[in-house]
């Protein structure tokens, strides 16, 4: 075998020490002239004359000297580079050969690294996309979300307040208000469920977006009444309109006929998921300054901070408050970078996962350090020979570092592959806010992986490298190349095993507690029962149904009647929004006999749901008192309402709600009749699975004269729910074939509501499992190595009559010297980690002794198991072979 100690290394050393370039050139030329003069002198020339003659024969000394110096300098720098390149090439060749020669070690090391780097690259690519990368708009850091603070928290802007901001606020280059939602768009005779937005005139300026083809709405088309134009997304133009080359004559039907005048570039989808934008119709907007209806975004002027913009808005709101006291509830403006609002909900889980992946990487490093150390010792004799042959310590360290770097690079490659797989897996379960569909392994992620890999290489390569080079010269030769397992070396290994176990314990315990917390959260009583129920989101096209409530009501009654009689359907109903579906319709209410709130327009707030059919039966919401809506509660009958338990408890504590009267407040408050409460039903979780019950009241759609929402969700219950989809589709089409329907399991909205928790839980679970695997691999490797080192001692013991059981116990006991302190340290770390988590995540309630104990028990069992395997191998040592092995 060729050792990299000497050999071609000679090329690094010049045979005589290099002179300085100046000296080198000058001395050479001096030598020539002196010799030439001597020659001339020998032929009889006088000394002085000989020197002059020699110089003359030489020519232009100064320019020759300069030229020689230039060439020499160039030569030396090239030589330096090529020597270094050759040394590196050689290190890499040797490194690869060494790695190839120990495939088991190499594979384990690469996989260990792949796990650490893969987990980190996955989390980093998500964090990178969600938090670090700016939104894909010009000057995205100046785009802000504008809301206002009011008595009950914060909310959207009322239309008149927005108009004041738009006219007077100086902090913005542009500010815009918009409303978005799902509606039906008719293209020809086909209806599509489309997410669209009505936007005010500055909208496209805020995002500095130009149409890919066509034009934006003209200023005049934003005037009251709204111009009959729309701009569509690239996908809508391609998939729904058939990608026409010209937009001339392209029209779609919303509430009326509109011309498609422009197509946005692909990828523009603000508000998220939008496919169609049209001018906001001011004539349609409530002029109340307590109707928080409009979302608003603005682009700050260069150099203006969100804080100072908020200051300006707050000052304006204070002035408005004095002016419109009767109909005003805002107390200040809120201005937040748009990007921050978009990642708000996912920030915590992401940082949690980032911490977990960092711990995992640390565990991987520890594993590799111990493995490298073990191998380094095993290779002690090889290094001793190299050192004896003259390889410098620096060179040996460099060789080991090169090996580590090679491993890290291979590991990083494998890790990136793993990250790709993990991302593909996560894409299906990630909460929508993360936009995982946009996450991919880009240059940043690759750079991150390689930087982490390099850092890791130094971390786990340097220490063993130093240890090895230290040990080799002094010990290894003397010990006949047997390597050493001295007490200090063993202490280092015990420390490494302890770290592995401690890190694994921390991850396992934290994950176990978090997972159990999440499971608890997911098992909360939602107040409704989603099993056996299908959901069908239905959109009536405004073009046909317009503002005419009777037509809408007729449609729904017809659908309900057909579905009630359909085979396999046990209950059917609908609501303007189902619980957890998002966007809870909440508003001011009036309760008869209650004092007005300070704002003077209502007595409080509640979620109101407009329902039809057997809504409560279809959702499995229990009726606690009184009755539900009946077929007889139609438009002609006396108006009735149903309240939930929370509503009843808050409004009429200690008495029955039946017979009390309520109605929604607001613009129609004057003409709205009182509704008599006829029933009390159980509360449901409305906003999120962790939110408290919010008071809710229900109306029958036939009695809500001012209700004109065209977007409702049906709930259809039956013993074989998946078979219901066809039925629902058919019956709705029988009533109106143009109405688009989107179906799915009702449990889907629950899954969506739990997406964030499920996502965090799954990733943590994966990380915990990976850390457990790392602990097993690490402990096993170290114990196996220790056994290999002690083969001779074990052989002697067996020869002297020790039983296999005694030997096994000895080895396991030895391993436990690392595992037990690791568990103790892990307990401390876990305790600290859990305290931090509890302060941070509301879901975590405490240390959770059951989950913690289970995690520790698992780890202890795994630790023993990992050491028993090599221990059993130790008992099979043949004493004769072992002693002769010397």
């Amino acid at each position: 075998m060729k050792l990299p100690g000497r050999g071609r290394d000679d090329d690094e050393l010049p045979l005589s020490p290099d002179r300085q370039v100046d000296d080198d050139v000058r001395s050479e030329l001096d030598f020539h002239i002196a010799e030439r003069a001597a020659e001339l002198e020998a032929r009889g020339m006088a000394r002085e004359q000989a020197m002059t003659e020699a110089r003359a024969l030489f020519g232009d000394r100064a320019s020759i000297e300069t030229e020689c110096r230039t060439i020499e300098q160039r030569r030396r720098s090239t030589r330096g580079r090529s020597v270094r390149a050759r040394a590196l090439r050689q290190d890499i060749t040797v490194g690869l050969r060494v790695l190839r020669r120990a495939p088991a070690f190499t594979l384990a090391a690469i996989l260990t690294l792949a796990v650490g780097i893969g987990a980190n690259a996955t989390v980093f690519s998500i964090v990178n996309q969600a938090i670090l990368q700016p939104l894909p708009y010009p000057d995205a850091d100046r785009i802000v979300k504008v809301t206002e603070r009011h008595a009950r928290g914060w909310g959207n802007l009322p239309y008149p307040t927005f108009l004041d901001f738009e006219r007077d606020a100086r902090s913005f280059d542009a500010i815009t208000a918009y409303q978005d939602g799902v509606g039906t768009v008719l293209v020809g005779n086909t209806g599509y469920r489309v997410h669209g937005a009505e936007v005010s005139s500055e909208f496209f300026r805020v995002f500095a977006v130009r149409p890919l083809m066509g034009r934006l709405p003209l200023p005049g088309e934003y005037a009251a009444g709204g111009g009959p134009v729309a701009v569509v997304s690239h996908a809508f133009w391609r998939d729904r309109l058939g990608a026409p080359a010209s937009l001339t004559g392209v029209r779609v039907k919303l509430d009326r006929d509109v011309a498609v005048v422009g197509v946005m570039p692909a990828g523009f989808d603000y508000p998220a998921g939008s496919e169609l934008w049209r001018p906001l119709d001011g004539a349609d907007q409530s002029l109340s300054r307590t109707a928080h209806n409009l979302e608003a975004v603005g682009k700050l002027r260069a150099g203006i901070s969100p804080q100072s913009a908020a200051g300006e808005l707050t000052a304006m709101i204070t002035r408005m408050s004095a002016q419109y006291a009767a109909d005003f509830d805002a107390t200040g403006g809120i201005v937040v970078r748009l990007q921050d609002t978009l990642v708000e909900g996912v920030r915590k889980p992401l940082f949690l996962l980032f911490a977990a992946s960092a711990v995992l990487l640390l565990a991987a490093c520890t594993n590799l350090a111990s493995a490298q150390l073990a191998r380094g010792t095993a290779r002690g004799s090889e290094f001793a020979v190299r050192a004896a042959l003259g390889a410098s310590r620096l060179r040996l360290v460099r060789q080991l570092l090169t090996e580590s770097t090679l491993l890290a690079m291979l590991g990083a490659g494998a890790g990136l592959l793993l990250a790709r797989g993990l991302l593909a897996l996560l894409r299906s379960i990630a909460p929508a806010g993360l936009h995982l569909e946009r996450v991919h392994i880009d240059g940043w992620v690759a750079a991150f992986a390689f930087v982490v890999a390099l850092g890791t290489a130094l971390l786990f390569g340097l220490y063993p490298a130093l240890r090895v080079s230290e040990a080799t010269t002094s010990l290894a030769l003397r010990e006949g190349g047997r390597g050493t397992g001295g007490p200090s070396r063993m202490r280092v290994w015990h420390a490494l095993v302890a770290s592995e176990v401690a890190l694994a314990a921390m991850l396992l315990v934290s994950s176990a507690v978090l997972v159990r917390s999440f499971v608890n959260v997911m098992q909360v009583d939602l107040g409704f029962n989603a099993t056996d129920t299908r959901m069908a989101q239905v959109n009536l096209q405004s073009a046909t149904y317009g503002d005419t409530t009777p037509a809408t009501a007729r449609f729904h009654e017809a659908v309900l009647a057909r579905l009630r009689g359909a085979p396999g359907v046990t209950a059917v109903g609908f609501a303007n929004r189902l619980p957890l579906e998002g966007g809870n319709p909440s508003g001011g209410m009036l309760v008869e006999g209650k004092p007005m709130a300070p704002n003077g327009v209502n007595t409080g707030n509640a979620i109101y749901r407009v329902v039809g059919g057997d809504y409560f039966a279809a959702l499995g919401i229990p009726v606690l008192e009184g009755r539900t809506f009946l077929a007889s509660d139609d438009r002609a009958a006396p108006p009735v309402a149903i309240v939930d338990a929370e509503f009843a408890r808050l409004q009429w504590p200690g008495e029955s709600a039946i017979g009390k009267r309520v109605k929604p407040a607001g613009m129609d408050g004057g003409i709205e009749p009182w509704h008599t409460v006829v029933g009390v039903v159980g509360g449901v979780r409305a906003g999120s699975i962790t939110s408290p019950f919010i008071p809710t009241y229900y109306f029958d759609h036939r009695q809500r004269v001012s209700w004109r929402s065209q977007s409702v969700s049906y709930a259809v219950r039956g013993p074989n729910p998946t078979a219901l989809d066809g039925t629902v589709q058919r019956e709705i089409a029988a009533v109106d074939p143009q109405v688009p329907v989107e179906q799915g399991a009702l449990s889907r909205i629950i899954r969506n509501a739990m997406a964030e928790q499920r996502f965090t839980m799954l990733l943590l679970g994966i990380f915990a499992l990976l850390s457990l695997i790392l602990a097993v691999v690490g402990i096993h490797a170290v114990v196996a190595y220790a056994v290999a080192q002690r083969t001779r001692e074990i052989g002697v013991r067996l020869a002297l009559g020790a039983t296999p059981a005694q030997v096994r116990d000895m080895v396991v006991r030895h391993a436990m010297r690392g595992v037990v302190p690791g568990l103790v340290l892990g307990a401390v770390l876990s305790f600290v980690a859990l305290r931090a988590l509890r302060a941070w995540l509301s879901e975590v309630t405490g240390v959770d002794p059951i989950a913690s104990a289970a995690a520790f028990l698992l780890l202890a069992v795994v630790g023993v198991a990992a050491s028993v395997i090599p221990a059993r191998r130790a008992t099979r040592v043949d004493p004769i072979v072992a002693i002769r092995a010397e």
């Binding site: 010049p14 045979l15 005589s16 002179r19 080198d24 001395s27 050479e28 030329l29 030598f31 020539h32 002196a34 010799e35 030439r36 020659e39 024969l57 030489f58 020519g59 232009d60 000394r61 320019s63 020759i64 030229e67 020689c68 060439i71 020499e72 160039r74 030569r75 090239t78």
Partner: protein, 117 residues
């Protein structure tokens, strides 16, 4: 850099140096003296021009140099020797030079049998 005052063809000096060194390692002055003496003083080379040529050959890997004590004077000199690459280059240069001279000579010595036009 001043051109050498005599009519050496480009690269000819390199060939002379390589040829000289093919007899064994030598310092610059020895190379210069050998070329001067073996050409019978007919080739008048400006002596300094030798050194950039030597350095360039060294840079190109055709010769190597070390500082060494020279036995006859006892002084240190930069002693050049031919590398295997240098030896190969010399062979090729000499062959090319020979072909060139032969062709040249043939043109000079061949008489046309009749008028060329």
């Amino acid at each position: 850099m001043p051109e050498t005052p005599m009519h050496l063809f480009k690269g000819t000096l390199d060939v002379l140096i390589l040829k000289t060194l093919s007899w064994g390692p030598a310092h610059g002055y020895a190379v210069s003296r050998w070329i001067r003496q073996s050409s019978g003083d007919d080739l008048k080379i400006e002596e300094g021009a030798l050194y950039p040529a030597l350095r360039r050959l060294e840079e190109g890997g055709l010769v190597t140099a070390v500082w060494r004590r020279v036995p006859d004077t006892g002084r240190e000199a930069r002693v050049y020797s031919l590398t295997p690459e240098g030896r190969r280059a010399l062979r090729m240069e000499v062959a090319a030079w020979q072909r060139y001279v032969d062709a040249f000579a043939r043109v000079l010595e061949t008489k046309p049998e009749r008028a060329l036009v």
